[in-house]
Amino acid sequence: MSENILIELQGLTKRYGYGDTESFALKDFDLTIKRGEFIMIMGPSGCGKTTLLNIIGLLDRASKGKYILNGENVASISARRQAKLRAKKIGFVFQNFNLIEDLPVIDNVALPLVYTGYSKTAQLKAASNALKRFHLNEREYYLPYQLSGGQQQRVAIARAIVGDPEIILADEPTGNLDSRASHIVMEELKAIHGEGNTIIMVTHNPSLTSYATRVINMLDGQIDTDVKTVSDANLPQPISVKIKKKKKAEEPEFVEISTQKTEKSDKKEEKTQKRKKSRRKK
């Protein structure tokens, strides 16, 4: 299933400093990620995990090597389109939550939608739905500091999934949480993964690897071990295209503004629908 390849990294190198101070965060790093994988990246501090995540998330550029996202070489994508891709295809979850302190929770969640052309009402609606999913709908107008760490991280995850991205990048999402809150957050990520999203997560906590379908151990900017616990064929996949088109007519406010309406955007819609169904069940 070669068309199922989402991310392809070839000979990726990230160098910091020059001459005597030269050091490599990543060195000739090769990795192929398929749709629907839940990857946990582990390794000692400074082995390049966060750098890898930043490069995958289009926040950083490699010094050398090739990064192919959805069959497209990232080096040839303009900075503006990269920003668009970050808004639509990629969701970030950080260790320190990174919520904007001056904005209420609901506006924080709606943040990615601000840059993708949603109307204000659609933004709030989508953000509200995302919060409901994490049982935070009663705290929509709280400010981040009024929430506990676990709640803040769930808000951050809600922000990451609000635009229905394909890839969720989580940089030690449980690093600042106690074990109970960690467990809740991981269950949420698991549920998101179950809907067909690809999750790449960096962690220090070996007990969390049970959630992953693939565990990568990194050492000095290279892969040390790479273990798949679920076969590629059993990875959760987004549902097929047919159901979609009906949905579009019903919910015109969710129609994308970009002129390129590809199959991918269709798939997204489908996910939304699926999510709503699961909510109803709850």
């Binding site: 926040l59 808004a87 970030f92 990174n98 840059y115 922000r159």
Partner: protein, 410 residues
């Protein structure tokens, strides 16, 4: 796009609200600059309005001849400013008045020459009294009313003077029994034949304060001062239909008279609306420069505060970039904030400027002058200031590295 602009506007508004005191002070900097511009524009507008009204009162048949048509450019204004007035030679002479009178359809022509001198009555003695040298046609052109006596006539124009209302009070402590008395100027005795009614119009297109002036025949003035500088010649046309033809005729006649010298201007109607004095231009020019400087200072304040705001919100910029804001989005967000600060300051300045203009109108004859041009100029200026001084901080915000920004905490 429009949607995004609305978002930027809302973001900027909430950011400004959050730092209320800081924004208010920054806005105040802009407001002071804008207020001074408004004040100057309102003042200039009200002065030309005053003069427009006067020319309307005088009638539509007025034509004014002024020396030095090149006076409009900056070098001549600077020249005027630096050169002592007494050394200046007007390009108009008494003979020109005679030439103008001969032009077809001209019913009257009166020169205006101002000289200051000491005027001595038996009781009082005043230095630097403005003396207006003209001829007996003057009263036909200007609607000056006499309280007592008569204006200069053919019989008495030599050695006769007419006093302004205030001057009469100052010299003789009275206005009613002044006629018939004499004043001494440069050793010459002059008989007072008339006293003007109160005019109370110190700003006018003649640039003469009639209440304080002494009026005499220009030939007598020439005799006692040795030389007279004609600052303008007022001409009354016989009919109002052909002012253009008449003014062209005057032009031709003068060029003929002065052997081709074109160093004068002939104007009528609305063209007369600026005061004859270049001092007015100089003062308003200086005020405009001061206002521009204060606006620039206000703009620097905006830039300063925007730089602080960008530094404070580095973390937020990192988050926004991580969730999909492009550099352009960030640029617009901060540019909008600077713009709104400036426009807020501009509105504050508009109000402040008109309050000042109103206060000024209480003690001076200048009524506050409001026009859409002034408001448009204010708006464009503040937007310009906002863009000029907001672009650098906004660019700084836009080019921040998202990874470093995310590590940045308050």
């Amino acid at each position: 796009m429009a949607l995004l602009l609305k978002t930027h506007y809302k973001l900027a508004r909430s950011a400004i609200k959050e730092n209320r005191t800081r924004s208010l002070l920054t806005g105040l900097g802009i407001a002071i600059g804008v207020a001074s511009i408004i004040l100057i524009l309102s003042l200039m507008g009200s002065i030309s309005n005053l003069i427009k009204e006067q020319t309307k009162e005088i009638g539509a048949d007025l034509i004014v001849v002024r020396p030095n048509s090149s006076k409009d450019n900056i070098t001549s204004i600077v020249e005027e400013f630096t050169a002592a007035n007494s050394f200046q030679k007007s390009s108009l002479a008494i003979d020109d008045v005679t030439a103008i009178k001969k032009v077809k359809n001209v019913s009257a022509a009166a020169p205006i020459a101002i000289s200051t001198n000491t005027v001595d009555s038996e009781k009082n003695n005043f230095e630097s009294v403005p003396i207006l040298g003209t001829n007996r046609d003057f009263i036909k052109i200007e609607p000056l009313a006499l309280r007592y006596g008569a204006f200069l006539t053919e019989e008495n124009e030599e050695n006769s003077v007419v006093l302004g209302h205030t001057l009469s009070l100052a010299l003789f402590n009275t206005v009613n029994s002044t006629v018939g008395k004499t004043v001494t100027i440069m050793g010459e005795k002059f008989m007072i034949v008339g006293v003007l009614d109160e005019v109370d119009r110190s700003i006018n297109f003649d640039n003469v304060d009639f209440d304080n002036a002494l009026i005499m025949d220009i030939k007598s003035l020439d005799k006692i001062t040795g030389s007279t500088q004609i600052q303008q010649i007022n001409v009354k046309a016989a009919n109002t239909d052909s002012l253009e033809t008449i003014s062209n005729d005057i032009q031709d006649a003068l060029i003929n008279q002065k052997l081709g010298d074109k160093n004068f201007s002939v104007s009528y109607g609305d063209e007369i609306t600026h005061p004859a004095s270049n001092l007015f231009n100089i003062v308003s020019g200086m005020l405009a420069i001061v206002a521009a400087i204060s606006l620039v200072v206000g703009g620097i304040g905006v830039m300063n505060i925007m730089l602080v705001s960008v530094a404070e919100r580095t973390h937020e910029i990192g988050i926004r970039k991580a969730v999909g804001a492009s550099s352009r989005n960030i640029l617009m967000q901060f540019l909008f904030e600077a713009l709104i600060l400036c426009i807020f300051g501009g509105i504050l300045g508009l109000v402040l400027g008109y309050i000042l203009a109103f206060l000024l109108s209480v003690i001076t004859p200048f009524a506050p002058y409001i026009s859409w041009e002034i408001i448009a100029i204010t708006f464009l200026t503040t937007v310009g200031i906002g863009i000029i001084f907001g672009i650098y901080p906004a660019l700084k915000a836009a080019t921040k590295n998202p990874i470093d920004s995310l590590k940045h905490y308050r």
